[in-house]
Symmetry: C2
Subunit: 495 residues, 2 copies
């Protein structure tokens, strides 16, 4: 069996244990690791690195695809290994280190990190990539994510590969590795539909760049999704009704357009709800394929899904990997540069569904910063999709923390998506279609349709008083962030 | 001569005066007019419409490419013709009507308006397009801009054409009209270099859609550019030095990458300064071609320029149109959807230079709203370029209004470009290269390099006090907009 996993015989002598491989990583290096939303990360080498750092301190810049599983970001942060981190994370301990200023975090659009590497603004010293197998010529077959692994391995002078025996051999053939050529003579990215195969099923690097190979056995972390609740059901039903109206008006067909859904419970619940809706022959062109992707396939609603990773709950993980052959012909995993590429997103006309942390009465969205200062996770791919989608939808519950927080505020405390990039807002209260509306019209409809009743009059009052001062986007600038200040001081947005 | 201008004989009987043509526009209609940054707008019909409205009130939604010349937006606003306006304007009287709430203004990325038309979220009832000529089959040859004219004419059921005899016949052949196919089966936009010709040199519509033809004679408005001053010279020299450093580090060649420069004095001055820099064989892939484009061609520095309009000072206008044949083989005018297309901008790796109204210590940029509420002009194409450029540069003078305003503030009062989309900031004080930096690092370098000395200690003090509270992006949320509030109350940002 292992012969299939490491098919280049001359690489057999590179097999070492994780500790030895980790010695290739030294203080001050920039390390590019596989892993995207807790799927397909290198598992043994980062652990060995953290253990070594407890005895013998070192600092690195850590780049990944997105978030890591197995609490690796926690472990590395606790060992004080991470000096800089990009482009995304979702780890509670690393988050604290970021917010305290110990770790410099660069919060990037997920499609852009490798552009910075390619044009020399950033550089990578070594790549650490989890693999299903290594081909005869040294090609790396990724596992449950592609992320930035291909560009890390291609651009780094040295590569450590973790062959993970717990990842099924059947993953081979699932991936489509395509790397854009250098600018200014770059060609078009030839993805014309979610099922376009444009590359090769492995990361093509010369075998001699593989400096160490570690054999591992532990499977991806569980990514439990909270069950839909009454509020996520309402959000889903507002959105389904809206999309059905668009179908009736002839603006969409019942196939809709290729779907993207951000990671998280609400987007997953919305997508899951389409199993009961009259849509059919749906496709996805997304970044993370969550449980709902496979629910939709099982329900006969989804004909194809393209993503950069597969991130599942324990139960779903077991089932999907066991029946991989059944799903495989309807799946592609791509580099995140391609899954999130503005060119492809605009071309396909994607319907993008992402989660807002808060939005304001004019439709600006904060996806990242609690109270305007504390980093939650990062912008991830939401900007890649929202800017270029044919329909950019943001969803959130109207309240948080037992109603002490309204997710709809006079002015967001941090902007990740400007009013120019936000078409539709949905809470459990209702939906606001902002397309073609000026700010004053946006405010009326957002306050009427999306705000929880306990905050509605306060927001309407703010807006009316701001109107007296005039302006294209009326605000009481001295009061615009007062709700956030009140929350900070009193624990409540309103008295 | 006129036979060359109207080559379809069966259209001769459509020639009417402007007043009669304007009668095709009725109350409540959405009208799509040509015109992009004061170039190539329909000139007679909107005037006739405004005159009629003084006697017989009517309201329309007015879409254009961008801003109009000949004070048409003033005239239409004064006649209360405009109920809604998109996607851009720069007119002082219309601006007041927008800020007072009389006119609903939809401030859009310039590449996106026609996507909304194509997917049915917006619709156009009639197009009014300035032409150099009409071909044998009814094809419309635009004049000094393309803007959204092609899609307006194609999507509207009726078209009014203004043949402008003052626009030289030699403009024919300059344009390249390409319209993307409908999604989801859209093809790649085949622009592979600034000089790629991918379409036809006229707007292809059936002759029978042309409902009226008006013959006009008045040339485009003058677009004076202020002469470079000591501060714009410093901005230009900081940027040139930076780009030369990038060349020395091997990240760019002396040909740089295709350039985009936003409209306005500072960007024009920066580009003009490249006539003296050691760059060569430059190209532009931009939206507006200003005086500096032709200065660079005359200096032998610029080998090709692609744009959506030519907007010049009187003197330059006379010279360029007189020597059109000389310049023509090095110029293309495209629909703004193509000049500003994310796909092409990302592919070519454009260096984008746009003007900020203000930016904050973390690199967020406000391009549109004075004091967070009053619309200036609109976002225009700055978002199309900044998001997808290989290098996104924003320039501004560090002070405004005799030093009562700092262009660098604790927190911008409105966000058009988020920190994720801003690579380089330049004022006359200096340049901040933000690539690969976390917010705290950005703050240090912006305060040190870009802020005027009279505001530097105040900003540094704000930042230091914010640091005590911690956070990925430290702010004193109750004080973040205090400079804007002070300006509103006292006319000065600081006492």
């Amino acid at each position: 069996m292992f012969r299939n996993r490491l098919r280049s015989k001359r690489l057999w002598d590179r097999i070492v244990d994780a500790e030895e491989a980790a010695r290739l990583i030294t203080d001050g290096m920039t390390v590019g690791m596989s892993g995207f939303t807790r799927a397909g990360e290198a598992k043994a080498v980062p652990l060995a690195l953290a253990e070594r750092a407890m005895r013998d301190p070192l600092k690195i810049t850590l780049m990944t695809g997105a978030s890591l599983g197995h609490d690796l970001d926690s472990t590395l942060a606790q060992a004080h290994v991470i000096a800089r981190r990009l482009p995304f994370q979702s780890d509670p301990i690393l988050r604290n280190a970021i917010n305290s200023g110990e770790v410099m975090f660069i919060d990037q659009h997920l499609s852009e990190t490798v552009e910075f590497l390619r044009n020399g603004a950033l550089a990578v010293d070594i790549a650490v990539v989890e693999a299903t197998a290594i081909t005869e010529d040294g090609g790396i077959v990724p596992t449950t994510s592609v992320g930035n692994s291909a560009s890390f391995a291609i651009l780094a002078p040295k590569v450590i590969v973790e062959i993970n025996l717990s990842q099924p051999e059947g993953l081979e053939g699932l991936h489509d590795i395509y790397i854009p050529t250098r600018r200014p003579s770059r060609e078009a990215i030839p993805v014309m539909a979610p099922d376009s195969r444009i590359g090769v099923p492995f990361i093509p690097i010369p075998a001699e760049k593989i400096a160490a190979i570690v054999v591992t056995q532990s499977s991806d972390s569980d990514s439990p999704v909270e069950a839909p609740d009454a509020e996520t059901d309402l959000i889903a039903s507002h959105l389904t009704e809206f999309l059905l109206r668009e179908v009736r008006r002839g603006r969409l067909t019942e196939r809709l357009l290729p779907l993207q859904a951000g990671i998280g419970t609400i987007a997953n619940a919305v997508l899951h709800s389409f199993t009961e809706a009259p849509f059919h022959d749906l496709t996805m062109y997304s970044e993370v394929l969550q449980d709902s992707t496979f629910d939709l396939m099982d329900a006969g609603k989804l004909s194809f899904a393209s993503g950069s990773s597969i991130t599942l709950s324990t139960e779903k993980h077991r089932r999907v990997l066991a029946e991989l052959e059944h799903y495989k012909r309807r799946l592609i995993l791509r580099p995140q540069e391609i899954s999130n590429h503005p060119e492809v997103i605009r071309r396909l006309g994607i319907i993008a569904i992402n989660t807002a942390l808060e939005f304001d009465i004019y439709g600006n969205v904060n996806s990242t910063h609690i109270g305007g200062t504390q980093m939650m996770n990062g912008i991830g791919g939401s900007g890649d999709f929202a800017r270029n989608a044919s329909m950019s939808i943001f969803v959130t519950k109207s309240l948080a923390k037992d109603g002490t927080i309204s997710r709809v505020v006079p002015m967001v405390s941090h902007v990740d998506h400007t009013e120019h990039d936000v078409d539709i807002l949905v809470t459990e209260i209702g939906l606001a279609d902002l397309r073609g509306l000026a700010p004053r019209e946006r405010a009326e409809i957002i306050i009427a349709n999306c705000v929880h009743p306990i905050y509605r009059e306060a927001l309407r009052g703010y807006y009316r008083r701001a109107l007296l001062r005039g302006g294209h986007t009326p605000h009481l600038i001295e009061e615009a962030l007062a709700w956030h200040d009140s929350l900070r001081r009193t624990g409540k947005m309103l008295p």
